[in-house]
Amino acid sequence: MTKTILLGAVAAGGLIAGAAAAATLDDVKERGTLNCGVATGLAGFAAPNASGEWEGFDVSLCRAVAAAVLGDPSAVEFVPTTGKTRFTALASGEIDMLARNTTWTFSRDNDLNFEFTGINYYDGQGFMVPTELGVTSALDLDGATVCVQTGTTTELNLADFFRKNNISYEPVPIETNAEAQQQYLAGACDTYTTDASGLAATRATFENPGDHVILPEIISKEPLGPLVRHGDNEWGDIVRWTLNALIAAEEMGVNSTNVADMASAAGDSPEINRMLGTEGNLGDMIGLPNDWAVKAIQANGNYGEIFEKTIGENTPIGLSRGLNAQWTDGGLLYAPPFR
């Protein structure tokens, strides 16, 4: 009997995997909604607002893709995933894309068979400590108890950093950001480590954000980006170029207020014309209506607008553009040409 149960579970796993192979674009069109995997709740990146609508930096990307594909930025079914469940959700076909501040790594790209379609946030792992501890550097953390989200690259960087610097620590593995926050505030750990953007987002929700300081050390590269299943290149291209369109739009000065104007007739700039579909047939090449990029930009604005609205300096999260500025402003954002 035990063997029966074993094999049954294996087979159940297999059945789920079977759903993954079909053409995602057709599935999404047929369904009429995009299933987008997001975080379970990280202020600024993906969290439901007071009226229960999801909003945030990652959420905006989902909406842009939904707008490009279905013409409707609200045709998104948001699926909250934890660090642990996100990859299974994507691999099994439960979600069409994952926009959940996920770090692009070699093994996730190749071994897990996913396709990272770009980078929407250049991040790095940092540490947050209560100011009263008087810690000024991560190297002072010898012997500290560290809260860390389990199933993340953070967990591995943490082990590497402490081993490399020959200092000890005690990890407290935690499933979600909300739990980590609670444990950290209760003093069950001395420091909380995750991506610096996540720390800023978490700190912004504290009662007294000023009582906590983010240490200067950034111990890793964390290029965060959306990802899709490997093997469905057409769908991967759609997500990739939607992100590129948002980035290029900022670079070329196309934003949510002027996009409708610019798309009504061909203008002076051939590249803007091609992107917005007033010239050429880029839409056909990607299998979408010619105004796909217009819809994507109309959803939440261009990359810069999304950034300022969700996590920028005027929000409680208060992140500066830093590495995430356009390449023309000394940042790393560099969208390939629309040609």
Binding site: F87, L133, T145
Partner: protein, 403 residues
């Protein structure tokens, strides 16, 4: 169809397969077997095909790769450079540790509560009912989280710092913090082996003395005192040996070092939360088993024992409980299995059991979901079957001997 496999010996007709009660059972079982095999084959082929379609292979090679993550409670040597297999073993040992600890305390708690539920004292009886009902009817995950939160309310290690700290250690030895409880650890100096040997010999001595007392009681009816002599035999020689050897065993008292307490033995908050929660939760179920077991012993037994002049606690321990065990032990086995399986909720409080290491972090970092889950099932299956194997042997030893 089935006729091909069945021998045609004298007087056997095909219709007998359905109509004859001697064969009908076999026929149905045969078809059921075929159905199961077909279903299994379908599911197995489906798995293989879908794995291939997704471009995934089935391999356990990742077990030999470095795990690259740290674990907060390790009973064997482990660093982030150890392999995934070793991380799984660390998790397995942690699972076993918390299961064994919880089984012991749940049994003690359950037996006490079960016996007291039948107490003649109204207050005690009602208190125990309240305990059983409260703990039995709330999911164990909630108890784990609740106890975890309660431990979190203890002072943090920083409260012990400074000239006039907010908190101080109990007796200067034990520190209860929100990271866990730090107790002194023994340091085994040279000669401590002899002390341990003397202690073990004392235990044997106590057993022998008790046997002698029973034999004496049976042979000439003299009732020797057992409690104080047992205590004496247990401790006096050990204490003598301890001082004779020049106090070889000393204590490593925990003290504040940097952020946390260093030295001593740390019983982490996750372990405490999980252990207590599993104990009190399962203890409530065991209490009910014990109560049922005691009630199943006919009242005549109690009256007969009383008429022989036994006192009530002796009636309980000599007459009622040994017979009640026959009823108590089988459900007790499933409670022990429940504890082991419920310990997989450990990650809720950050305890690194096997579900958290192998089924959590390793699964995530390697992406080998099917492989790790299968291995995890295998581990739990082996643990559970071993527990029920051992308990079945015990059950056989207490069950009614038929001669």
């Amino acid at each position: 169809m089935a006729s091909v496999t069945d021998p045609h010996d004298g007087g056997f007709r095909l219709s007998m397969l359905l109509n004859d009660r001697r064969y009908r059972g076999l026929t149905f079982q045969f078809f059921a077997l075929i159905l199961i095999i077909v279903a299994m084959a379908f599911l197995g082929i489906n798995l293989v095909r879908n794995l291939a379609a997704a471009g995934l292979n089935f391999s356990y090679e990742f077990l030999g790769d470095p795990a690259n993550y740290d674990i907060n409670q390790t009973m064997i040597d482990y660093t982030s450079r150890s392999t995934h297999l070793r991380a799984a073993l660390v998790g397995l040992l942690n699972t076993l540790l918390v299961s064994v600890m919880a089984c012991v305390t749940a049994t003690i708690l359950g037996v006490i509560a079960g016996v007291l539920r039948l107490s003649k004292n109204w207050l005690v009886r009602k208190l125990m009912s309240a305990y059983v009902e409260a703990f039995r009817n709330v999911p164990v995950l909630i108890w784990i989280l609740m106890i975890g939160t309660v431990v979190q309310q203890l002072p943090s290690p920083s409260a012990f710092r400074g000239d006039d700290p907010d908190s101080s250690m109990w007796l200067g030895l034990i520190a209860a913090t929100n990271r866990g409880i730090y107790i002194p650890a023994p340091i085994w100096g040279p000669g401590s082996l002899i002390v341990i040997a003397v202690f073990l010999a004392s235990i044997v001595g106590v057993v022998l003395y008790r046997r002698y007392a029973v034999a004496k009681l049976y042979s000439d009816g003299t009732l020797l005192p057992t409690f104080w002599p047992s205590l004496g035999i247990l401790f006096v020689p050990t204490i003598l040996a301890y001082f004779l050897m020049g106090q070889p065993v000393s204590l490593d008292v925990p003290e504040l070092q940097g952020f946390n307490f260093g030295g001593g033995l740390q019983i982490g908050r996750p372990l405490i939360a999980l252990w207590l929660a599993l104990s009190v939760y399962t203890g409530a179920f065991i209490a009910e088993n014990v109560r049922a077991g005691i009630l199943s012993v006919s009242h005549g037994q109690t009256e007969a024992a009383a008429s022989l002049g036994l006192r009530s606690n002796r009636i309980m321990s000599l007459v009622v409980l040994p017979q009640a065990l026959r009823v108590i032990v089988p459900p007790l086995i499933s409670q022990y299995l429940n504890i082991t399986k419920n310990s997989s909720l450990a990650i809720a409080v950050g305890y690194a059991d096997i579900t958290a290491t192998l089924g959590g972090i390793t699964l995530n970092q390697t992406g080998r979901a099917i492989e790790t889950i299968l291995l995890l099932m295998l581990f739990y299956l082996v643990i559970s079957l071993s527990i029920s194997g051992v308990m079945n042997v015990y059950n056989a030893s207490v069950s009614l001997k038929e001669r």
